[in-house]
């Protein structure tokens, strides 16, 4: 039971990362290589904002911190879109991917410059929610992770299914040119995609940071997120959720049952296996491969 909850909690972090990668990919066919960096920078900002609003992290200051991080990250996503990505519309998508690599370097350097590479931990929700007889326990943050992830995916599903903007989003993802001719505001759609992606990355980073220490090396979780997105299929949101849980289960079980060193290798081993066996992922569309 404890194992199950831990996997779900870690899986929800990966699923949130994968969701951001998938949304950006769906909207613009760009693979965001800066996702791990965005997540960790977001978590650092959350940590610092928590200090500014009150180190004790009581309920009101926690709410303010969450609000600052949520709004700040969404605005940062919009900023990335309008300052960088919009200029690359119409250029080959791998150029945009290389720009995200450049962005990743700058963000990682930002951690070095602003936070002097310090290791920090976000001390929220570490208290046990439920203790097992065998010594295991479930913490508050595990529960919050899982619930936040479910809520976000449900909200996304509803958005794409029932709102006008969501339908426009799907149309723009399918064929941007036709959508633009039908008066869909492509810039709005893409800015929204980036805003959501950075927001969900920040959420994932904060959840990650509340479970283990943050450092510039933590940006490697971007690889897990990318793997989760590929396992599920780069253009499938449903796949992102399932891929996240699968990658988390594989990583966690390897660390528990075989060796922690091998667990570091699990994300890219899965990545290689997926690329050999089923590169379009579990739920992705096959013809996607030829479009990029």
């Amino acid at each position: 039971m404890e194992l199950f909850v831990s996997i779900l909690a870690l899986g929800s972090t990966y699923a949130l990362l994968a969701a951001g990668i998938v949304i950006i990919y769906k909207a613009s066919r760009v693979v965001n290589f800066a996702h791990g960096e965005l997540a960790i920078v977001g978590a650092y900002v959350f940590h610092s904002a928590g200090f500014v609003t009150g180190a004790s992290l009581s309920a009101p200051s926690l709410l303010i911190t969450i609000a600052i991080s949520a709004i700040g990250s969404a605005l940062f996503g919009v900023l990335i879109y309008f300052s960088l990505m919009r200029r690359l519309l119409g250029r080959p998508t791998f150029v945009a991917a290389m720009v995200t690599i450049g962005l990743a370097i700058i963000l990682k350097a930002g951690i070095v410059v602003i936070w002097q590479s310090r290791s920090v931990g976000i001390a929220i929700g570490r208290q046990a929610l439920f203790n097992f007889a065998g010594g295991g326990r479930i913490t508050w943050i595990d529960l919050v992770s899982i619930l936040a992830c479910i809520a976000l995916f449900a909200a996304l599903a509803g958005f794409f299914q029932y709102t006008r903007l969501g339908r426009q989003f799907r149309g723009a993802a399918e064929n941007p040119l036709l959508a633009a001719q039908r008066q869909v505001n492509i810039n709005l759609i893409l800015a929204l995609a980036w805003a959501f992606a950075v927001f969900s990355a920040t959420l994932a980073g904060v959840l990650f940071g509340s479970r283990s220490m943050l450092s510039p090396q933590s940006t490697i979780i971007g690889l897990s997120g990318l793997t989760a997105a590929l396992v599920g299929g780069l253009d499938s949101l449903r796949g992102a959720a399932i891929g996240g849980v699968l990658v988390a289960a594989a990583t966690y079980l390897t660390a528990r049952l075989i060796s922690p060193t091998l667990a570091e290798a699990v994300p890219f081993l899965i990545l290689l296996a997926v690329m050999c066996w089923r590169p379009w992922g579990l739920f992705g569309t096959v013809e996607e491969l030829n479009r990029v």
Binding site: L88, M98, V99, G102, V112, Q116, L223, L230, M275, V292
Partner: protein
């Protein structure tokens, strides 16, 4: 019959010349003379930087053949360098193999690994290929990390490499290294320039521009893609091997994903699909952190980690800046300036055929 004109070609050989006009030979001769005389006027620190540049040029030319000419985006360049460096370290330190055998062996090891990493290119292109090479990079580095932990005195100490020596002469001075690395780099540049003018180079460009059309033209696309990966990895391994001898110690921590990105940055900044561009980019990106460091030293207060972070960020800014504002890189800036002076006082665009050097 030759016309010595950059515009009127009367034979196929003329369209393929590297130095089109007579004055360019004089310019190249002057540059060579200046570089050869450099060690007599420059200090040790400057020569050290130049040596780093020469090693970077070898690796950058390698990745430019793969990414710039053949259009295969690779994030695995650092792992090829690591393969070269580790092969050299293992052969020379554990088995006492002399450098003239260790370096070719390293190139061969790199070529084999490049062939394997290139296999997915037969199935994917673009971003999917980049993701696959990314996974390959982590796999190779993971193996080398565990190897280093087993053989080394400790997990992070690395493997030391003896200085190369031949017949009583040991190569350990900056000035000696300067000439050796310069000659190797010049040979690599000439090799790449010549390769790009042959059937192989033209096949690569055709695959980059449209692989389906290239296949229709009778180019064996899988073979030339794999050839690009093999040659590129061999050159990267050569750079890694020389780097191992030059720094005298090999640690796996050196070969991060950032290093692969730095090499990618070199060809983005220098110019994709241009051998001379990769030379310019390699020098630019290698010197950039030192230049930024110099600027920071001018500040009165100590910055420590901050300066290091800004040095890193400068590379990211260079990548984004060039991709957004000058996608063809430094070589395109050079071409524009050269054309401006050639045409002055008129403002025609470049008329020259060929152009992708």
């Amino acid at each position: 019959m030759t016309t010595n004109s950059p515009y009127l070609h009367v034979s196929y050989a003329e369209t393929n010349r590297v130095l089109v006009e007579p004055y360019q030979r004089i310019v190249v001769a002057a540059i060579v003379a200046a570089i050869v005389c450099l060690p007599f006027v420059a200090g040790g620190y400057f020569l050290h930087l130049m040596n780093l540049c020469s090693i970077a040029v070898i690796g950058a030319v390698g990745i430019n053949l793969l990414t710039g000419y053949c259009g295969q985006l690779s994030l695995g360049q650092a792992s090829f360098l690591a393969i070269g460096a580790f092969t050299t370290a293992i052969l020379s330190q554990r088995f006492g193999v002399p450098f003239f055998l260790a370096i070719p062996a390293s190139c061969c090891a790199g070529a084999v690994v490049g062939f394997v990493v290139g296999l997915p290119a037969l199935r994917f292109r673009g971003i999917y290929l980049a993701i696959t090479t990314l996974a390959m990079h982590y796999a190779i580095i993971y193996v080398l990390t565990n190897y280093q932990a087993i053989v080394g005195p400790s997990a992070s100490a690395g493997i030391s490499v003896p200085a190369p020596s031949l017949g009583g002469f040991t190569l350990n001075s900056e000035r000696g290294w300067f000439y050796v690395l310069l000659i190797v780099a010049a040979l690599v540049v000439m090799f790449a320039l010549n390769l790009s003018r042959t059937y192989i180079g033209r096949a690569w460009v055709a695959i980059r521009d449209r692989d389906i059309a290239a296949e229709t033209c009778g180019i064996n696309v899988p073979r030339y893609k794999l050839l690009a990966f093999t040659i590129s990895a061999a050159l990267a391994a050569l750079a890694g091997s020389l780097g191992a001898y030059f720094t005298t110690v090999v640690t796996v921590e050196e070969y991060t994903l950032e290093l692969a990105i730095v090499y990618l940055a070199m060809i983005i900044v220098g110019g994709m699909g241009s051998v001379i561009g990769s030379v310019l980019g390699a020098v630019f990106i290698t010197l950039l952190p030192f230049g930024v460091g110099r600027v920071f030293e001018a500040f009165p207060w100590q910055l420590g980690t901050t300066a290091f972070g800004v040095q890193q960020a400068a590379i990211g800014v260079a990548i984004i800046g060039f991709l957004l504002f000058e996608p063809d890189g430094l070589i395109e800036i050079y071409r524009r300036i050269a054309t401006y002076f050639e045409r002055w006082p008129f403002r025609y665009r470049e008329l020259r055929a060929g152009g992708s050097r």
